[in-house]
Symmetry: C2
Subunit: 337 residues, 2 copies
């Protein structure tokens, strides 16, 4: 870093619309005078034998060194002999908790106007173990793994998050009536952690019932913590309530205090390079990164400017029913800072 007050953060612009929305974040950060210097990283064009992925060892080391990063959408190239980019990042960097705040955006109307949820997803094991095999022809198995260590770690993160963010309630989402041992262990770990946080209300909700309650009345929930696949499902459901993945931030918390924020929407190759992409999810993800760095004043200013721009409705990208370009929408945000 050229200036010792600057924090270096890794930036993966990603594929498709990634570079355009990353450019939007860079501009907004500049205007808001955020003391961050970006270290841009590009995924390789062939498999790095050291990672078995298109992610290079340098990519991973950049995040490990900086401990903080932002990631645009990455399309895993189709083919054999390498692992999904997203899963490789989660595994290699020990990104054990995926935090997805989801709140109604003032002025952007959906069927729901009172959504304010935090999904905290265990991000390293469960149904994502990758252990699958054919038993005999026509009979295949996949193995879900739940460990005490990973469950305690994500439960601890969820309760700590609730406490430090003024949240009242943590709901553990499960299917322990069917998977008594795996989901049962997950619940047991949540219960153990809950005892250390008597000021936070703790409850357990079966995943099917949770989905029903979420669509009937999302205000019933506050912070939700759950194993990997349930988190994948519930966080997308929640995003749907407020308008979709183009509007919801995400941040992955890893070992040694690593935070890798990411937009979880796709790379939208159909509109890539056309100045039509909505940078909201990446901007709000960058805001979660700033909060992780305790740069709350900067975070507030950027978040307010994004929300105000959407609320005013004058500049909106096509996915939100407007016809602004990415650059005009970004400029409107900068004008609000």
């Amino acid at each position: 870093p050229s200036d010792s007050n600057l924090i270096t953060a890794t930036l993966f612009p990603g594929d498709g619309i990634g570079p355009e929305i990353a450019e939007s974040v860079k501009q907004v950060f500049k205007v808001a005078d955020v003391p961050i210097e970006w270290e841009e990283q590009f995924v390789g064009t062939e498999v790095d034998p050291r990672t078995q992925s298109f992610l290079t060892l340098e990519n991973l080391e950049s995040v490990r060194r900086n401990r903080v990063g932002l990631k645009g959408p990455m399309a895993t190239p189709v083919g054999k002999g390498h692992r999904s980019l997203n899963l490789t990042l989660r595994k290699e960097l020990g990104l054990y908790a995926n935090v997805r705040p989801c709140y109604s955006l003032p002025g952007y109307k959906t069927k729901y106007d009172d959504v304010d949820l935090i999904t905290i997803r265990e991000n390293t094991e469960g149904e994502y173990s990758g252990l699958e095999h054919q038993v005999v022809r026509g009979v295949v198995e996949s193995i879900k793994i739940i460990t005490r260590q990973a469950s305690l770690r994500v439960a601890e993160y969820a309760f700590h998050y609730a406490k430090t963010h003024g949240r009242q309630r943590v709901s553990a989402i499960h299917k322990a009536n069917i998977m008594q041992k795996t989901d049962g262990l997950f619940l047991k770990c949540c219960q153990e952690v809950a005892e250390k946080y008597p000021e936070i209300t703790y409850e357990e909700v079966v995943i099917d019932n949770c989905c029903m309650m979420l669509v009937k009345n999302p205000a019933l929930f506050d912070v939700l913590v759950m194993p990997n696949l349930y988190g994948d499902i519930i966080s997308d459901l929640c995003a749907g309530l407020i308008g979709g993945l183009g509007l919801t931030p995400s941040c992955n918390i890893g070992e040694d205090g690593i935070a890798l924020a990411e937009a979880v929407h796709g790379s939208a190759p159909d509109i890539a390079g056309k100045n039509l992409a909505n940078p909201t999810a990446l901007l709000l993800s960058a805001v979660t990164m700033l909060r992780h760095l305790d740069l709350h004043e900067k975070a507030d200013r950027i978040q307010d400017a994004v929300l105000k721009t959407i609320a005013e409705g004058k500049y909106r990208t096509g996915d939100l029913g407007g016809n602004s370009t990415t650059t005009d929408f970004t400029k409107a945000i900068c004008d609000h800072i």
Copy 2:
């Protein structure tokens, strides 16, 4: 049967509010002159060693003999050494497809007014295998099993259902980007069956994306077919869109043409015996049973009477914001027949 034109059907009134809502069905069937004679079955008060469950061998044989039945909610008694009643029924009777129609009820307003979905859930394997074990202390596994046989069978049922019910599209819901072998086999089976139904549009949708799309715009879907756990989740989500499990029918299709319709809501012990329960889900489930028997004229009359009564809004039970008793609501339905 005393009258050779009568069809004998098994009836499990079930627990809690079960007997009251079963009584409602019996009355409505009588008024509609449905040619069905009920064979009532009661679950045992202790574990039957032949079934390892509170379900007796007689219970199971009644359904096997009659091939058609209706089931109220059953609360599995807590304790060791026996299996869940619902799961035992599914397993013992080979109930391989769980069909849950879900449509907006005219006059009963929710956030959605255009829901018309059929969830078809594989009902015998997947995450419900019951195979779980501790590997070492703090590390537990559960095994998901997908077989070619069960996947083909449920896919065949879904496409046949679509074709015979005038439906245009079947969506297979999966997470094959993560569980390539298990969900991959499920998709392969769906693809094979889809080829035999060129008139039905076939698509594949990842479960997380499906949940997001369902809450944004349920009209995007028509018939959905999927492995067990996804079906559990999606059918409850869909029920939430139109008001909850108190309003949605369900029918289990088994080997040898068995059909066991059931209300999938709980036994609501808090209001049991108070004449407050809503019999709608059990009535509409009974309607699916009639359709299975090709008694469409009776099915239409009863369904119309239920929907009309709810639409008029004069008689509604407490769960729908009214203050009718079960008997008054039932009487209003009978008056419409």
